[in-house]
């Protein structure tokens, strides 16, 4: 059956939020433990089908969609581009996040009558990139400086980071009592590629000059830090297999921790939350940093009387100006070690379960009733270079059969106020399959979606109630 699914995955896989609002709290799916190490666990153990246990892709842009720019609507492309350049703000961003679980597994342990502890582990690869819209740069390219005399162009509008990492992790989940479960996950990050340009400062401004028509003021303090298989100045024989070899431990290592809990307020209400990727990566191998720093005010040249007052010749005068420019625009390349922080994520939810499941075999009310429906409110926040991005979701979960559960979510975030997400988890024997995606309302025209996220995976689960 699976082979029929592949085309679907590839079709949808092309489009993609790092916010896994559908997966969060979906306890039938073992990977929900990655979203909250202190989530409720209701299996005895599992293993993920290697390379297929969790595939996640997401891409998003705030403020603009592909359709805005590329619609075949007869409107001149440059008019559309111009409108976007002027409409977008410097805090608008483009982001891509992709994860692929290489392997994962978990098992419950403890006394046979009450296995209340759970160990889960795995290795996954993650690609994460964000680029803010460099508004002032775009305006400068668009208009030039002629119509922008006295307007300072902020160089800090260039802000972006990208990383390709692998994450080896082990989590511990403990059900302390009927009310409280907590979990913790330790992570070892291995950075394969890192690009970081999040600390740019300075301005470029053309203003009325005293000696000449204009003074051109350059106040530049910019940097790009890189590590891993990045070499901007030399050609390298880079091959994919080099990349794969580096996945487990490339040398640029880091440590992180995830924390989470679930608190059962009463039979029907529970509260949970998690803090993910509280960690750093130390970049010490294959580091290459580029810095551009300097101040200079250019007012043109005085070609006829340069020697007056200073005693220098015209040639010296001209050479000095040239050198000032060369200094200003020469990249300093260093190999200074640096540290990056992982994007910290916060999840929290308040949930209400209702609609008790009737046991047809025995006309009795179970001691520990199982509810078929659940609703809740979820909060998600991620720390990004400029400011956190926050999303709020309302969801409805329904257990259709023993083996089939669905969840629908409505999310408001940086991208939109109309994001509907849907997810399904199915159990066929021991095999668990899940697929979820968001922004369904935009599927009438996928290009108009500012963000799409898709996750799917296959696991083999040993269920508690399996005979």
């Amino acid at each position: 059956m699976m082979r029929y699914f592949w085309p679907i995955f590839f079709l949808t896989g092309l489009t993609y939020t790092q916010n896994k609002q559908v997966l969060y709290g979906f306890s039938e799916i073992p990977q929900s433990l990655i979203q909250n190490p202190g989530a409720k666990v209701n299996n005895n153990g599992y293993f993920g089908i290697p390379l297929l246990s969790h595939v996640h892709v997401n891409a998003g842009t705030s403020g603009v969609s592909v359709y805005d720019l590329f619609a075949d609507d007869g409107v001149d492309f440059n008019s559309k581009l111009e409108r976007i350049v002027y409409d977008l703000r410097p805090n608008d961003f483009f982001t891509v996040n992709q994860q692929l679980e290489i392997f994962s597994g978990g098992f419950a342990y403890g006394p046979s009558y009450d296995k209340n502890a759970y160990i889960s582990f795995g290795l996954y690869q993650e690609l994460d990139a964000i680029l803010y819209f460099p508004k002032d740069y775009a305006i400068l390219v668009y208009e030039g400086n002629q119509n922008n005399i006295n307007r300072p162009f902020s160089l800090d509008h260039l802000n972006g980071a990208a990383e390709l990492i692998s994450v080896l992790h082990v989590g511990y989940n403990k059900k302390v009592n009927e009310k409280f479960t907590f979990g913790v996950r330790g992570k070892i990050y291995s950075s394969i590629i890192n690009l970081n340009s999040t600390d740019n400062n300075g301005v470029f401004v053309t203003r009325e000059g005293d000696n000449n028509v204009y003074d051109h003021v350059f106040d530049i303090d910019m940097s790009l830090k890189t590590s891993g298989l990045v070499n901007l100045t030399e050609d390298s024989d880079f091959e994919t297999k080099d990349l794969i070899r580096q996945i487990p431990f490339s040398g640029n290592l880091g440590l992180g921790i995830d924390l989470g809990f679930t608190y059962q307020i009463n039979k029907q209400w529970y509260l949970d939350g998690s803090l993910l990727d509280l960690g750093f990566i130390r970049h010490s191998k294959d580091v290459e940093n580029h810095e551009l720093e300097g101040d200079y005010v250019f007012e043109g040249i005085n070609p006829i009387f340069p020697e007056v007052g200073t005693g220098q010749t015209a040639d010296e005068y001209w050479t000095e100006i040239e050198e000032e420019f060369v200094d200003l625009f020469t990249l300093d390349t260093t190999t200074t070690k640096y540290t990056t922080w992982r994007p910290l994520k916060l999840n929290a939810s308040l949930n209400y379960s209702f609609g008790e499941k009737k046991d047809e075999a025995c006309d009795c009310t179970a001691q520990d009733p199982e509810y078929l429906n659940r609703m809740g409110l979820q909060l998600y926040a991620i720390k990004r270079p400029k400011q956190p991005q926050v999303a709020l979701s309302l969801y409805y979960y329904r257990k259709l059969f023993n083996a089939l559960s669905i969840k629908a979510s409505y999310t408001i975030d940086s991208y939109s106020f109309s994001n509907i997400g849907l997810g399904v988890s199915a159990q066929l024997g021991g095999v668990n399959f899940y697929v979820m995606a968001d922004n369904f309302l935009e599927y009438q025209n996928i290009y108009n979606a500012q963000s799409v996220s898709l996750q799917f995976g296959f696991n083999y689960i040993f269920n508690k109630n399996e005979n």
């Binding site: 400068l140 051109h216 040249i301 005085n302 898709l454």
Partner: protein
């Protein structure tokens, strides 16, 4: 078994929704139409000198000349996208002598490819006289500008009462270049 079939259908159903994702017409080839036309302005030359700067060793310095090597026009970006340029000069003269500014454009091997001059009128009563001049580079002139590797500035005093140490007045010149770019087909 029945349940399994049902489940299969449900999964297919959900996947179907995903599959039914539609697209409206988009045309990515529109990037070929990409075009921006920034206008960049830069200060060029300036001077601000009192009349007695033209008096040296008990004689009038009638001609002052200097040259500047320039490599900006060699740049491929400028070669490809510069579509028009203009040099704008504004002068304020309060010296009772008229001046001529001559700018020669030399290509490799000092081949003269372009030249222009303009006259700054004299100010008999030492009042500040404004005069402006614009040299536009289009067509063949633009080709010449792009070939330019060296500029020679010549400031000459035109006929009139000789300048001495006490000749009043000042000549002030400011200038800027306006560069019209048209960037296309680069995406």
């Amino acid at each position: 078994m029945k349940k399994k079939i049902l489940n299969t259908y449900l999964i297919l159903g959900v996947s179907g929704i995903v599959l039914l994702a539609c697209t409206k017409d988009v045309d990515f080839n529109q990037v070929d139409d990409f075009e921006v036309s920034p206008v960049v302005e830069s200060s060029l030359i300036f001077l601000n000198e009192p009349a007695n700067q033209f008096y040296e060793n008990n004689a009038e310095v009638t001609t002052v000349q200097d040259s500047v090597l320039i490599d900006v026009f060699e740049d491929q970006f400028v070669q490809d996208y510069l579509v028009k340029a203009a040099f704008f000069f504004e002068t304020q003269n309060s010296i009772n002598r008229s001046f001529q500014l001559r700018v020669d454009f030399l290509a490799d091997a000092d081949v003269l490819v372009h030249s222009f001059d303009y006259t700054v009128p004299s100010s008999p009563n030492n009042a500040v006289l404004n005069s402006n001049y614009t040299e536009v580079f289009e067509g063949d002139d633009l080709v010449s500008l792009k070939a330019t590797r060296k500029l020679i500035f010549t400031l000459s005093l035109l006929d009139g009462t000789p300048i001495n140490e006490n000749t009043p007045g000042t000549i002030n010149m400011k200038s800027k270049g306006t560069f019209y770019l048209n960037i296309d087909d680069t995406l």
